[in-house]
């Protein structure tokens, strides 16, 4: 059950839910994504992983840990709250902004944006714009745990945990232990 839901966070009543990824599935997906990131970036020691608030911030260090186990070095991990760059502040709630921090910046480095669910692509557009203000990355890539489709912008992920075709009325919920108390990806249908 949710441990610390942020005040104001949308709580949707779900009348049915189906577990799509278990804790082990998530672990395996992160391990595979880590291999792919290393392969695509030729194990660059400059690699920077930037997690998006709120759940991406917890996924990025897991990928970093996994990369360290595989390759013996840990990429720099940063965090980003891109709400100030969004074009739809109606959706961006007025919760307090969360800290953005990318140690040592991104100039000339390959950056992987890490988020939980890729949906319309608007968050990622905002994140890319926010990232450009940090400096000129040599390359920006995108890793997501779930791609649920319904893109409204020409944005595609480079690394995907699982493709989950969904309907608009459905809700994909990624649960992360640090926030929600357990690890799971759940598909629910809204009332």
């Amino acid at each position: 059950m949710p441990k610390s839901r942020r005040p104001g966070e949308v709580q949707v009543t779900i009348d049915s839910e189906r577990v799509l990824l278990t804790q082990d599935d998530i672990r395996r997906a992160i391990t595979r994504i880590s291999h792919e990131i290393l392969e695509q970036n030729r194990a660059s020691r400059d690699l920077v992983l930037v997690g998006l608030h709120s759940r991406g911030v917890h996924l990025a260090p897991r990928i970093a840990d996994s990369i360290e186990r595989i390759e013996g070095f840990r990429p720099v991990v940063g965090s980003l709250d891109a709400r100030l760059w969004r074009d739809d502040p109606d959706v961006a709630s007025r919760q307090p902004l969360l800290p953005s921090d990318i140690p040592n910046g991104v100039d000339g480095k390959p950056v992987v944006i890490v988020d939980d669910v890729l949906y319309t692509g608007r968050t990622i557009r905002a994140a890319m714009e926010a990232l450009l203000d940090f400096g000129r990355a040599s390359r920006i890539q995108l890793a997501v745990l779930v791609d649920r489709g319904h893109r409204e912008l020409p944005i595609r992920p480079d690394f995907i945990g699982k493709n989950i075709p969904t309907a608009h009325g459905e809700r994909v919920q990624v649960r992360i232990t640090e926030i929600d108390g357990d690890d799971a990806v759940v598909l629910g249908r809204e009332n």
Binding site: P96, L97, S100
Partner: protein, 356 residues
Amino acid sequence: MTNPTTAVGNENGGVAESTPIAPSGEVEQVVVPRHHLLDLDDLAPAEITDLLDSAVSMLEIAGRDIRKTPALRGKTIITMFFENSTRTRVSFEQAGKILGADVINVTASASSVSKGESLLNTVKTLQAMHIDALVVRHPHSGAPYFISNHTDASVINAGDGTHAHPTQSLLDLFTVRNHLGDIAGKKITIVGDVLYSRVARSNIIAFQKMGAEVVVSCPNTLLPDEWQIGSTLGEETGFGGLKLARNVDEAVDGADVVMALRIQQERQDAGHLPSLREYSERWGINATRMALANDGALLMHPGPMNEGVEISSEVAHGAQSVVEEQVRNGVAVRMAVLYTLCAPGKSIRATNGDEV
């Protein structure tokens, strides 16, 4: 809440959509987002904490090489200053510009106000130009409340008469929190003009609201008549728990924060002070007095400083002084205020963790 100073107009004028807080501050619920920032007395502690939390991110953005975000792109903010100001006006202007808004400055002396246009007509004129926020400084207490009743724009009080200066208090809270962590339980000593200072009034309210112990020290002539030096105020005053120290040394003793306020020349002219020199000797903050405060205590001043009067040059620029930091934090805090009030879209907030 009664004020030692006079506030013209309705206490809650213009902020009817916000729910007044319970005095205990335990269960606050703000049902509709705030539209104006006129005073801190009707802000719940959780709302203040939200603003300070957002200011942390804003400070990071304000310190970048590229200080620009599109958050308030296409919004127009007008700063309307009927009193002179450097730091507050520039800081609001910079805050608005970093957030991507267009900021237009109106000063009374260079506007039609100098031709005799009334405040109401000035506001109506600006309103006709579809502005989103109006930052107001006015020599008359309550003027921002009056303005908020005659415009759709968000009104932000940048200092009204002797009444309130909410963004100054927010930046003071932010500065103290950055250095000392939690504000609750800290001893905050305010030395200076309590009767007329809007900074004193707003800071007493703000720091008490966040759980600090507030002590003031000043000449008897700069206290409201019914307040007795050496006493602790009761709840009926609206400043329950405020301690009125017998002398400045007692006030500074064991303080975590010492805040010196500017002594305005007008006060001396009005006979409130015997002489600036006597004030300096009896209430001025110098190294000897600062030594009575806790180790690591902060020295604050809202500026502009009269060095050698309420604060000695030695401590004003010493290791404990955070005066310049206050100015830097002012931009971040005002960014948080402008963003919270002016960003399009309304989210609904409850502090008990549930969606309303």
